[in-house]
């Protein structure tokens, strides 16, 4: 994963190995995301083949059971195992997040970098388009489009709609970054050697923005998962496919709240929340790397600073 922010300043030296950034918040965030990726990849096999649990098997006699030895996270109103649903559902939720994020990140990179580099009329048009897309509220738009295509295409359609409506924020940030890069030496050098604009955008500018792009990609994954959960929750996602959002929908539909069945909707929401926290940690960490003033000084540094301050005041006396 290329997240080292040291390359923000210039171009990445060709053969430097890029490891995880030192920042602890970024590391913790990435660790959580990796955990969930493994959870989604391997979890369903473990749950279904190793432990023999099913996300869809209905046991009407066991409806709305609180957590117990046989159902670690309890059961739904129709007796499905909540833990099994949680594990199986992680796959759909992550998949929607990933696909939507690929779409929106690609769009935002193309629009933002092209606008920032080309300048002139092209930039004016792209920026105006971005700004307009930014002020038209995306969730209502998402709801309208999703309700027209309801039931058609499954999770892929949902991912597509989310991806197509969530690019403007990213485009804005990438344009700003491109503006600061386009007069750098490596771009001028490429221009001098007569490389085409397309070549400069794809081979020079985009690679040098890799850290920014990967960070915004991670945010996009999480925001898309939020959007998917919200859409499914109001019945517009793929509610017949087990996902964290559809779990919340069915829980709401069966009045899980009024019946006190917390084990039904807390786990899927908590998983989404933990992933949100992971993205927040990464964002925060990246802010700290980019702006050293935000870093909280370690205890030792603070003690030394306090001692120094004391000394100066004493000297002043």
């Amino acid at each position: 994963m290329n997240l080292s922010l040291s390359s923000f300043k210039g171009r990445l030296p060709e053969n430097r190995k890029v490891w995880l950034p030192e920042n602890r918040k970024v590391r913790a965030g990435i660790a959580i995301l990796v955990f969930f990726a493994l959870f989604a990849l391997a979890g369903p096999f473990l749950v279904e083949d190793v432990f023999g649990l099913s996300a869809t098997a209905i046991h009407t006699a066991d409806g709305m059971q609180p957590p117990s030895g046989s159902h670690l996270l309890g059961t739904t109103a129709t007796g499905e195992d909540v833990l099994a649903q949680l594990v199986v559902g992680s796959r759909v939720s992550l998949l929607v997040g990933l696909v939507a994020a690929v779409i929106s990140t690609t769009l935002s990179v193309l629009v933002g970098v092209a606008g920032g580099y080309l300048g002139g009329t092209a930039d004016a048009l792209l920026t105006a388009g971005t700004n307009i897309a930014l002020v038209i509220p995306s969730l209502p738009l998402l709801i309208i489009v999703a309700s027209y295509v309801k039931g058609r295409g499954g999770w892929l359609t949902v991912a597509l709609i989310i991806g197509l409506t969530s690019w403007p924020w990213g485009a804005r940030g990438k344009r700003a970054q491109t503006l600061s890069l386009r007069r750098r030496d490596f771009v001028t050098a490429a221009e001098m050697t007569g490389e085409s604009r397309w070549w400069i955008i794809t081979r020079e500018l985009i690679p040098s923005m890799a850290p920014l792009i990967s960070a915004s990609f991670l945010s996009a994954v999480v925001l898309s998962m939020f959007a998917d959960a919200g859409l499914s929750f109001i019945g517009l996602g793929n509610i017949n496919l087990t996902s964290w959002g559809s779990m919340l929908y069915w829980a709401q539909n069966a009045s899980a709240l009024a019946r006190g069945a917390w084990w039904w909707f807390i786990p899927p929401g908590a998983c989404i929340a933990v992933i949100g926290v992971a993205a927040g940690l990464i964002n925060f960490g990246i802010d700290e790397i980019a702006n050293p003033r935000l870093r909280k000084p370690g205890r030792a540094v603070r003690r030394r600073a306090a001692a120094a301050a004391l000394r100066t005041t004493e000297e002043a006396r």
């Binding site: 105006a128 700004n131 307009i132 930014l134 002020v135 038209i136 509220p137 995306s138 969730l139 209502p140 738009l141 709801i143 309208i144 489009v145 309700s147 027209y148 295509v149 058609r152 924020w169 804005r172 940030g173 700003a176 970054q177 503006l179 600061s180 007069r183 915004s216 945010s219 925001l223 939020f226 959960a229 919200g230 929750f233 109001i234 019945g235 517009l236 919340l248 709401q252 709240l257 009024a258 006190g260 917390w262 909707f265 807390i266 929401g269 989404i272 929340a273 949100g276 926290v277 993205a279 927040g280 940690l281 964002n283 925060f284 802010d287 702006n291 003033r293 935000l294 909280k296 000084p297």
Partner: protein, 358 residues
Amino acid sequence: MTAPSETVAVVAAAESPKERPARRLRLGAGRYFVQRLGFYLAAAWIAITLNFLLPRLMPGDPASALIAQMQGRSALSGEQIASIYRLFGDPGEPLWSQYLTYLGQVAHLDFGLSVAFFPTPVWDVISAGLPWTIGLVGITAVLSFVIGTAGGIMAGGRAGSRVDSVATPGAMFLNALPTFWIALLFVLVFGFQLAWLPTGGAYDGDLTPGFTAEFIGSVISHAALPALTIALGWSATWYIGMRNMMITTVSEDYVLLARAKGLGKSRVMFRYAARNAILPSVAGFAINIGNVVGGQLLVEAVFAYPGVGYLLYQSVASVDYPLMQALFLMVSLSVLAANFLADSVYGLIDPRAREGRA
């Protein structure tokens, strides 16, 4: 997730003085407003056109699907069919003439009849829900901006202090949670387990609306949980943006100078540092109104609060396309209007914004 401050800071940093013409005519406040007004009018036109095109671009034929679905439930009156064609256009008519008819209808707030609340006109349904949402959004947006920004000034002015080290991780955590899930937790804890506050509706159904203490109390208690949910999440967002900007600002030379002159601590913090640090937050406020409203829609659905969000939820559940389309248009136009207002304020307090950087 993107802190509002960040983008603005990057934009400001990105434009090196070399790239700007040495002397640029300052855009006067008047011209700035005209330019912003032009932008928002263009955005409104696009929202209106999008609303026209969406149902016509969709695969399949939503109009016949809707008619078929409704006929399954009960016989359709001519009025109902007319209402559906008013929305989707008469397929026999050419697109441009459909478009002109549609623009005329929008200008007259004529959106046909609602399917879910048949035979109430769509506009009547919306105007019943609008005040609830405007009240809730207005109060919570302002409240969370004030709380979050004040907290950010205090924490960012003294980074590493106890307030900072408790509130910042807390705000980060809150900021990372999906709003509608916080709403669900509140319903469970405060609504059902503790039974402190009502979890549905805008007021007690037994009361007749009016300016009585009982009715107003009921309105407040019903709005409490939805308002708290939204305010919590958004205070956290403003807090983080303000704190980060404040930290950057307090180490600027002019703040140091103010401190060296021996000015009072709070004077330096508020009159010097916060005054400049708040600019990106005001700009962010404009851009984020759309997100606040978006989050609000789902929260209203959770609390069955009878504003536009809950109406949208109901229109989706009952495939009420006329209502759904009109709601999207109303929400978009209100967000654009709010944006224009916030932009104008920003242009007033920061002359640099008028130079076309915002």
